[in-house]
């Protein structure tokens, strides 16, 4: 539905402002992306997307950006310079989250309404495989060697382990209620899965798919029911995880070796997802209810600014411009 004039305008805007690195934020209820300039910490561009944009990720060379337009039932491929939608990928219904495999070619997409993980070849733009998983698949991860893909299913409460060679499940492991996000860490030896309603992160040993640790959270003066881990990301060297705790409005800082929580940082309301800047000294969290992004200084573990974006910001992705 994009009018040509808008594209021209955004392109014109871009040429004058795109000097610094950026954080791209999807606004679930505005059907837009807000682009934050990391130098000025201001929104410098707003780009229209399909309906209900949620997951967002750049290709490894940052030449295109992939966007889950959930209610448009498509994954959109956008030119980040012009904001132009280049084409849609076949995604299955209601794509919510996805992950780009290390080969920079295969997208693993969670189809929330269909209990399916769809594997799409971004080059041929075809569906390579569809894998039956649990109900409401959401969290997606691929191991650094590309051999294992993970889907977490929110209602089935499992991490499903997919052999990317055969595109078959080879393990299903229970986690606490409503798993939302998954990440491989420490060179792919560990898998972390957050459980929103369970209030925990389960750490798996990847070689054996067994539970190695469980991380619990406790925010002062906030009832445990409201401490709901969702998205998380790791600092340089995977030494610490920053974990969004949803409606507790805090981000936890977890020591990745001891699995102890070291700090809680107050951010905006219902914090969802996040990404870092290039050297991981700054963290940008999306706060769904307050409609803003909190900038956290990683060294001091303090929130330094909140930036108004669109309605219900959801995903965040870093884009270098150098």
């Amino acid at each position: 539905m994009k009018l040509p004039i808008l594209t021209t305008l955004t392109a014109a805007l871009l040429s004058s402002t795109a000097l610094a690195d950026e954080i791209w934020v999807t606004n679930e209820k505005d059907d837009t992306i807000s682009v934050i300039d990391i130098e000025t910490l201001e929104v410098v561009r707003t780009i229209e997307t399909g309906e209900r944009p949620r997951g967002i990720t750049f290709s490894k060379d940052f030449s295109v950006v992939y966007i889950c337009a959930s209610d448009s039932d498509s994954v959109q491929v956008m030119d980040p310079d012009t904001g132009e939608i280049l084409h849609d990928l076949p995604s299955g219904e209601d794509p919510e989250q996805f992950v780009l495999a290390p080969d920079n070619r295969h997208l693993y997409i969670a189809n929330e309404d269909d209990a399916i993980t769809t594997v799409v070849d971004t080059v041929t733009r075809t569906v390579v495989a569809q894998i039956d998983v649990g109900i409401e698949p959401e969290g997606m991860a691929v191991s650094p060697d590309g051999k294992i893909a993970i889907t977490t299913s929110e209602t089935t409460n499992m991490a499903h382990w997919i052999d990317t060679e055969t595109q078959q499940l080879f393990a299903n492991t229970l986690v606490d209620s409503r798993p939302r996000h998954a990440e491989f860490v420490k060179d792919g030896t560990e898998l972390w899965v957050s459980s929103e309603i369970g209030g925990t992160i389960t750490v798996f040993d990847v070689a054996t798919q067994t539970e190695k640790a469980k991380i619990e959270f406790e925010v002062a003066n906030i009832h445990p029911d409201r401490v709901q881990p969702v998205g998380f990301e790791f600092t340089a060297g995977d030494t610490h995880a920053f974990v969004a705790l949803g409606p507790s409005n805090h981000v936890a800082v977890v020591n990745s070796d001891s699995y102890e929580v070291e700090d809680y940082i107050l951010v905006g309301r219902r914090v969802w997802h996040m990404d870092f800047n290039a050297d991981r000294t700054q963290l940008f969290t999306t706060n769904g209810v307050s409609g803003d992004v909190t900038v956290v200084d990683v060294a001091s573990r303090k929130a330094i600014k909140s930036i108004k974006v669109g309605r219900f910001p959801w995903g965040a992705a870093f884009r270098p411009t150098e």
């Binding site: 929330e112 309404d113 209990a115 649990g134 109900i135 409401e136 929110e154 209602t155 089935t156 409460n157 499992m158 499903h160 499940l169 299903n172 229970l174 209620s177 409503r178 929103e196 309603i197 369970g198 209030g199 009832h223 029911d225 409201r226 409606p247």
Partner: protein, 392 residues
């Protein structure tokens, strides 16, 4: 008189599998029993009660369980029995108990307790998904009976929290003259007093005129002598006259209870906390929005599923023990984990306050505190429940 679906044939055949929790293969048979109740005549038939109310929620819960069970070698079946208005509900329950010990009951309170008291039900696990009566969570509670439908008390408390927060301190009430209306009105009144709100006039609506013609003339007069109040409660359990009250009151005041701002178990306007996904799954299945009793039957099936997933067992005793333990929690799309009250078997849950077009608030509201969980500010708390069946 009684119709038994094809699913029963499957479930009945698998009934023997119960109790084989030790093996990797777990077969879970649940029986949904519905007492068909003839609704009293109402002034408007704009919103007919779906024939499959409750049933569809159970079916969705079954589907959710089957998907999860597939990865764990656990199979689920649902048998369905609907008992005609003049049928023998207890007899149908007895037959169901002969096949398995997990029953979801969608019936009036008297029939629910009659089933719970059957000798055959002593070791069974029953879920009440159809009766909101407070007494079932109080002195008429039963140890083998859990409640996934919120009580009238939970709904009334949710409303009162909203009034307190908005400082709508003075309340008037109109109730229908049927027993259900009066029970709902009594609960609202008790709740208002509990929250220290000022409870003023209470009138009984006993007109038999057709309000589609006369509401604009009769309601102003009827409400003229209610005195000063901030909000008018309407207790109309059968959805008979309440829709004609809004905008016709003598004083321009908001209406709540059975009309206007309503406390519900579930409603199509509930969207947050992933609820949109549950709504769309339900609408794909039932081709209509999910309602209170659909949610209650869904929650019963899912509670069973969750307990089976975590324990690997399918027998009523193990499942009941787990559900009442601190380890149990159900993700119910209401923003926080749902758990069972250990003193009366009620499923704790937030109560959405809605009007037809949007969610207004979700109780418990901020500032209503409780030493155990804020959810226990809604409904019968431990000291007041009067239920002793769970003490052991």
């Amino acid at each position: 008189m009684r119709k038994t679906s094809v699913a029963c044939a499957v479930a009945c055949a698998m009934g023997l599998g119960l109790g084989s929790a030790a093996s990797a293969q777990v077969e879970v048979a649940v029986h949904y029993l519905k007492q068909v109740v003839e609704a009293p005549p109402t002034l408007s038939n704009l919103d007919p009660i779906p024939d499959d109310l409750g049933l569809r929620g159970a079916e969705l819960g079954l589907e959710d369980n089957i998907t999860t069970g597939r990865f764990l070698g656990q199979t689920y079946t649902l048998a369905v029995t609907e008992v005609a208005p003049d049928g023998d509900f207890a007899g149908a329950a007895r037959a169901a108990l002969a096949e398995g010990d997990l029953l979801v009951l969608d019936a009036p309170a008297d029939m629910v307790t009659a089933v719970a008291d059957l000798p055959e039900a002593a070791a069974a696990l029953l879920f009440n998904a159809g009766a909101a009566d407070v007494a079932l969570r109080g002195d008429r509670c039963r140890a083998n009976l859990l409640h996934t439908l919120p009580s009238y008390a939970m709904k009334a408390d949710a409303l009162m929290q909203f009034f307190v927060q908005r400082r709508w301190d003075d309340i008037a009430l109109i109730a229908g003259d049927r027993p259900d209306d009066q029970a709902w009105a009594d609960t609202l009144e008790a709740s208002a007093r509990k929250f220290k709100l000022s409870f003023g006039a209470r009138k009984t609506w006993a007109f038999d005129a057709d309000m589609r013609r006369n509401a604009s003339q009769e309601v102003p007069l009827f409400t003229q002598d209610l005195g000063e109040y901030d909000v008018l409660l309407v207790a109309d359990a059968a959805d008979d006259f309440a829709r004609y009250i809004s905008f016709n009151t003598w004083r321009p005041r908001p209406v709540a209870g059975s009309e206007g701002l309503r406390p519900v178990t579930w409603h199509r306007v509930v969207e947050a906390w992933g609820a949109a996904q549950l709504q769309s799954r339900f609408e794909d299945l039932a081709e209509r929005p999910m309602q209170d009793r659909d949610y209650a039957t869904w929650a019963a099936l899912r509670a069973i599923g969750e307990a089976v997933t975590r324990t690997g067992a399918a027998d009523a005793g193990t499942l009941r023990g787990y559900m009442l333990s601190e380890d149990f929690e159900l993700a119910g799309f209401k923003g926080r984990p749902l758990t069972f009250r250990s003193w009366n078997g009620q499923l704790r849950q937030p109560i959405p306050l809605v009007h037809e077009r949007a969610l207004v608030a979700q109780a418990p509201l901020e500032g209503f505190l409780h030493q155990r969980t804020e959810l226990d500010t809604l409904g019968l708390d431990l000291p007041e429940s009067g239920c002793t069946a769970f003490e052991n």
